[in-house]
């Protein structure tokens, strides 16, 4: 069922199932990633791992607006997008374990989750590098006459990159069906937005390219879903690209660990008070459509799911070393 808006007077009784669905999705991501932290400490997972904790409402909300036929391009911070898009937790976990059962057969790791069956085109670890690709996916749809949307996620740090500018212009000029989802979590590693952009109103910046653009409270999954649905509707109808500035915050370090010398503890605390999961669960409880017991059940179901994902990953197999150079070029169909 589609949400009309995210106002406090929202009719949660009618939308109860959907609300719980959104909550579950966010908790899944949260618990999955909390487990990642443990597994990283245990060295079961290696490489760079970028957590989405705090930003769950963004991926979960946006994905609601997409159909299975739409496409998604994400960044290295893409566990949330992958899970919200429906990539099985076991495939994501196995990927980080470097197993054949991983979403990318263990060749990509945390930063390169792919699932073409779900039109999930990764997992790009070059800041800004996914944007042109998203424009191209959208161009293909335009040329093929398919009413599909390509959602492209990227951080606010990417806005300073030339590839951002070139792609925004190209998409607007050619009216390509791209939904640009800018995850403005205020920092690019240690660089605060105001030390990165001369003009920090990102939606305004996007609008200057001649596309629909507006800021959204990225800590409120309902607001995100509502905005994404509206934007996707326009994009799908041929209105050209749209841009959402999703205002959010990462609760954890940039990558698995960092000394966080670049932001104040109070600032983090302030944002934690707006935890998207608590925000929604509180609203559902306040509307009396969710009980603590139900929430506990959800949590325990998810804990099992995560356990299962880990168990599956650990039981996964390793690609034989002899196959190292597979997938450099396509294999002839057997």
């Amino acid at each position: 069922m589609m949400l009309d808006h995210g106002l406090p007077d929202h009719d949660w009784t009618a939308d109860r199932d959907h609300g719980v669905h959104l909550l579950r999705r966010m908790i899944e991501i949260r618990r999955f990633e909390e487990r990642c932290v443990e597994l990283y400490s245990a060295a079961s997972i290696r490489g760079f791992v970028h957590l989405y904790i705090g930003e769950e409402a963004v991926a979960v909300g946006v994905m609601e607006a997409l159909t299975p036929d739409d496409a998604v391009v994400a960044t290295y911070r893409e566990h949330g997008q992958a899970l919200a898009r429906g990539v099985p937790a076991a495939a994501v976990m196995a990927e980080m374990y470097g197993r054949v059962e991983g979403a990318s057969r263990g060749r990509g790791g945390s930063m390169h989750i792919f699932d073409v069956a779900r039109r999930f085109y990764g997992g790009n670890a070059i800041v800004g590098g996914g944007l042109p690709v998203a424009a191209g996916l959208a161009l293909a749809d335009r040329l093929r006459g398919l009413p599909r949307v390509t959602a492209c996620f990227f951080g606010e740090g990417a806005v300073a990159e030339g590839e951002f500018h070139e792609t925004m212009n190209l998409a607007a000029l050619w009216r390509l069906p791209v939904l640009f989802c800018c995850e403005n979590n205020l920092y690019a590693m240690g660089t605060a937005l105001e030390r990165s952009e001369s003009a920090t109103d990102l939606a305004l910046k996007a609008a200057a390219y001649g596309m629909l653009a507006w800021p959204v409270d990225g800590m409120d999954v309902v607001a995100v879903e509502t905005a994404a649905r509206r934007a996707a509707l326009e994009v799908r109808a041929g209105g050209g690209p749209a841009f959402l500035e999703l205002r959010t915050y990462r609760f954890r370090a940039h990558s698995m660990y960092d000394p966080e010398r670049y932001r104040a503890r109070e600032e983090v605390e302030m944002w934690r008070a707006r935890d998207p999961i608590t925000v929604l669960s509180d609203r559902l409880k306040w509307a009396e459509v969710l009980t603590d017991a139900e929430l506990a059940t959800i949590e325990s179901e998810i804990a099992t799911e995560v356990d299962d994902a880990v168990a599956a990953a650990e039981a996964g197999t390793f690609e034989p070393v002899e196959d190292l150079t597979r997938f450099v070029y396509s294999e002839a169909p057997a």
Binding site: S104, R105, I126, G129, V133, A135, L143, E163, E166, E331
Partner: protein, 327 residues
């Protein structure tokens, strides 16, 4: 049929556009202007602006868009005006086009063709005279070709478009006006494998792209002196046809590698290294390289000429290789 390299390339693009709906051409000034080297002249009128797309000056975005469009089911031909500007798109080519298949565990192949002009020789100075084929040939995940003949200008594109993976086509700027006969029914040619363009027994001249013609000229020069040089046109720069190279050198026992790129760390180095590795016991003389001087290419004609490999340089190297002419 009398034709030029430019026309052969145009015929190849037209043919591809006509044959396959998924094919489209995109790049700077490929449409209205007719292509900066007039390769795509008339194609906009024939196929319309959706399939012959003029792009803004945004090398990274339109190359990346080609990658995305390929993922999305199309068969894009992306033209980068020249290799010089391709540096601006190198991130997309190296970090996306070449890696997506592997990084995705085999899910995302990128059936993209990128065409670009390369080379010097027209007094365009340091920023417009690069020969960076060797860089592209270094990258696993790419295939790289350098058509040096009318047949290959006409034939490689279709084969490249049928390939499931990204193929980069280098067209030497000095070749566009090359004129000659081409069979009316000239068809696709392979994008792998070298070709012997002249048989010889005394020394192998290994060349590609714009240097093949010069190597053939040099072969004529030394032939007059009794040296029979074999000229091997690499055609494919990645993968290199190691077998053909080694076979030829095993027969001639001597090799000269000609490359318009700078010598140090250029493609010539790879060819020389692999000969020294795989044909070591066949070699009667060290491999010689004739490359561009280690200098940003200067504008003045006499300096540019001096910077680039010339027929006389190749002939001299061939002589030295067979032990004539000192050194």
């Amino acid at each position: 049929m009398r034709t030029t390299y430019r026309e052969a390339m145009r015929a190849a693009i037209r043919d591809a556009l006509a044959r396959d709906d998924r094919v489209f051409l995109m790049g700077e000034d490929v449409g209205r202007y007719g292509g900066c080297f007039a390769v795509s002249l008339g194609l906009l009128e024939e196929f319309g602006p959706e399939r012959v797309r003029d792009t803004p000056l945004s090398e990274s975005a339109f190359v990346g868009a080609g990658i995305g469009a390929a993922l999305g089911g199309m068969r894009p031909i992306v033209e980068i005006m020249t290799v010089n500007f391709s540096l601006l798109a190198l991130d997309q080519i190296v970090n996306n086009a070449a890696t997506l298949l592997h990084m995705s565990g085999g899910q995302c192949n990128v059936p993209l063709v990128i065409r670009m002009t390369t080379g010097a020789g027209r007094q365009l100075a340091a920023q417009h005279s690069h020969s960076l084929e060797g860089w592209y040939a270094h990258v696993p995940g790419l295939k790289v070709v350098a058509p040096a003949t009318l047949e290959d200008a006409r034939g490689m594109l279709w084969t490249a478009l049928c390939d499931p993976d990204p193929v980069v086509i280098f067209e030497h700027g000095g070749l566009y006006n090359l004129e000659g006969d081409l069979a009316d029914d000239a068809g696709p040619t392979p994008i792998e494998g070298a070709a012997v363009r002249r048989k010889g027994i005394d020394v192998t001249l290994v060349a590609y792209g714009g240097m093949v013609g010069k190597a053939l000229e040099a072969a004529e020069v030394v032939a007059a002196e009794g040296i029979e040089a074999e000229v091997l046109d690499l055609r494919a720069l990645r993968p290199l046809d190691t077998v053909a190279i080694v076979e030829s050198v095993a027969a001639t026992h001597r090799a000269v590698v000609i490359d318009e790129g700078w010598r140090t760390g250029g493609l010539s180095a790879e060819v020389a290294a692999l000969i020294a590795e795989d044909a070591f016991y066949d070699l009667d003389a060290p491999v010689r390289r004739v490359c561009s001087a280690e200098v940003p290419i200067p504008y003045a004609k006499h300096l540019e000429d001096a910077a680039l490999p010339q027929v006389a340089d190749i002939a001299a190297a061939a002589r030295l290789s067979v032990g004539v002419g000192g050194g």
